[in-house]
């Protein structure tokens, strides 16, 4: 427990001025603009929007600048700002099947309708530091034209869902639309066991590092679920909503999202059939690692449905969902920095008294009993 303290105003003010100064850095260098952060650090922006739970690249970039690059702090700032806005609507569900893809890959089928589109990816880079970027970077001319030797297939094909193809062959557990209003953990805190809609919402907001570690643990044998990356897509989807005053649905714009559909080990179902099982990940922006991790955990948390014993950390719903939010986690861990003077004094007193008692003869004999 911490108690309220008074005073220190000018020290605090000066500390904040010093923070401003530190953030700005060496004045001989030009100041970083929010637009530069937004346009040139898109993956940081994606993470802050997803875990900050507000799709707004400019606000996310502002938060990143303000937090001097501390993404968890930036996420906190965005979440705080979020609470100042009222929520007007809930959108119609986005349709990722009709996404204008910037990337689409499958690790399960080499040849598939629509093809494998690598898009802007770190995959197949050699992870060698690129000293061109340290020097002048690439010239606009170098960046302007991206052409391949085989330029014949640039017309757009339709891109069917990989898992749906397996569904049609009855090899994959089908995703049924239960036509229910999804849970909203921002309005009603989840109670456990919770339904999958609450779980996916919590995972979408959850800390990437925490989810990554748990997803990794399933691969290392703690709740193994035999995953294959069935399909990963990044691209733009249209967001629509249905305002009551209009009575028909309208598009409000497009947003970029990343989606991962995991194909997991087959399992005997309640009706005796045997099918592949699945996990799902969805996040704002370019957020592949996050969606892979989310899909692994989504599957691990379906243990009961497939008669699996919950023995590993990644299968513990309450544990994961109540610890995956980095705003909550950082808040509680960070509160340890606040004055705990009175609390600690009482501990100190107690320990001193116990030790004093031990040195008196009575207490010493009591100890031996």
């Amino acid at each position: 427990m911490y108690v309220a303290v008074k005073g220190g105003e000018s020290a605090i003010q000066n500390a904040h001025k010093l923070l401003d100064k530190t953030r700005r850095g060496d004045l001989t260098f030009p100041e970083l603009s929010v637009a530069q952060v937004q346009k040139q650090l898109p993956l940081a922006v994606s993470r802050v929007m997803t875990e900050g739970s507000v799709y707004d690249p400019e606000l996310a970039a502002l938060a990143i600048k303000q937090s001097a690059g501390d993404l968890v702090e930036a996420i906190f700032l965005l979440r705080a700002y979020r609470t100042t806005l009222s929520r007007f609507y809930s959108s119609e569900p986005i349709d990722t099947t009709t996404m204008q893809v910037a990337r689409r890959i499958s690790a399960t089928f080499k040849d598939l309708p629509g093809g494998q589109l690598l898009g802007p990816t770190f995959d197949y880079t050699h992870r060698l530091l690129d000293f061109t970027l340290l020097a002048d970077g690439r010239t606009p001319e170098e960046l302007a034209n991206i052409t391949s030797q085989d330029n014949s297939e640039s017309e757009s094909e339709s891109i069917p869902r990989v898992l749906e193809m397996l569904e049609k062959e009855a090899l994959m557990v089908a995703e049924e639309d239960e036509q229910k209003t999804p849970a909203d953990i921002t309005q009603d805190p989840p109670s456990y066991p919770c339904n999958r809609s609450a779980r996916l919402q919590a995972l979408a907001r959850g800390d990437e590092g925490f989810l990554l570690a748990l997803g990794y643990s399933t691969q290392r044998g703690y709740g193994r679920n035999h995953p294959f990356a069935g399909e990963i897509r990044t691209g733009d989807v249209t967001v629509s909503l249905l305002p009551e005053e209009l009575g028909f649905s309208i598009d409000i714009g497009t947003i970029e999202v990343t989606e991962c559909e995991m194909i997991n080990g087959f399992s005997k179902l309640e009706d005796g059939d045997i099918k592949f099982t699945r996990g799902y990940g969805l996040a704002f922006g370019m957020n592949e690692r996050k969606t892979l991790s989310m899909a692994l955990i989504d599957r691990a948390l379906q243990a009961e449905k497939y008669g699996e014993e919950r023995v590993s950390p990644a299968q513990q719903e309450e544990f994961i969902l109540s610890h995956c939010d980095n705003v909550e986690a950082a808040g509680f861990v960070s509160h340890l920095k606040l004055p705990h003077y009175v609390d600690f004094q009482s501990e100190l007193e107690l320990l001193r008294r116990l030790r004093a008692e031990r040195t008196t003869p009575d207490a010493a004999s009591g100890d031996q009993s």
Binding site: R87, S91, T96, Q100, D177, T238, D251, I252, F284
Partner: protein, 149 residues
């Protein structure tokens, strides 16, 4: 859904998806000399974005996005509405004005032809350019026989 509604959905969609600067730039001549009463001044809020499990199944909430909405009324009595991603109040205000004008038969066909269609063409162009760039990263993997036997 009536044909008028489908047409209206279309122009609302095009105006919402268009780049704000371009839209404001191209549309200013259409509202010159027109009067509008502001019914609901542009206001910024959130809309919850929903996804589907497995892309096609039951819905779940992914997170919020910022949105700006606005309602105006033209002198002829048409109500113009706008609901647009982001926090650009000028974009929302102008789109609401244009929504009102476009419902007016006197302005509709000309505005559709000289504003909405060019905006739509720009959107299609940008999408095609993006798709073309991505298509250059299309890969054909060859599986190799492992030399084990």
């Amino acid at each position: 859904m009536t044909q008028d509604q489908t047409l209206r959905q279309h122009w609302i969609s095009v105006m919402a998806k268009s780049n704000a600067e371009l839209f404001l730039d191209l549309s200013s001549e259409y509202i010159a000399g027109q009067d509008f009463e502001t019914i609901r001044a542009p206001e910024v809020g959130l809309t919850q974005v929903r996804g589907r499990m497995g892309g096609t199944g039951s819905q779940f909430n992914v997170g919020d996005m910022t949105i700006t909405r606005c309602v105006v009324q033209s002198t002829k009595g048409h109500y113009g509405y706008s609901y647009i991603k982001g926090r650009n109040k000028d974009h929302a205000y102008r789109a609401a004005q244009l929504d009102a004008l476009l419902q007016d038969d006197e302005h509709q066909s000309a505005t559709l032809a000289s504003l909405i269609q060019p905006l739509e063409a720009t959107l299609a162009e940008n999408a095609a350019a993006k798709a073309n760039e991505v298509a250059q990263t299309k890969v054909d993997f060859f599986t190799l026989v492992r030399g084990e036997d």
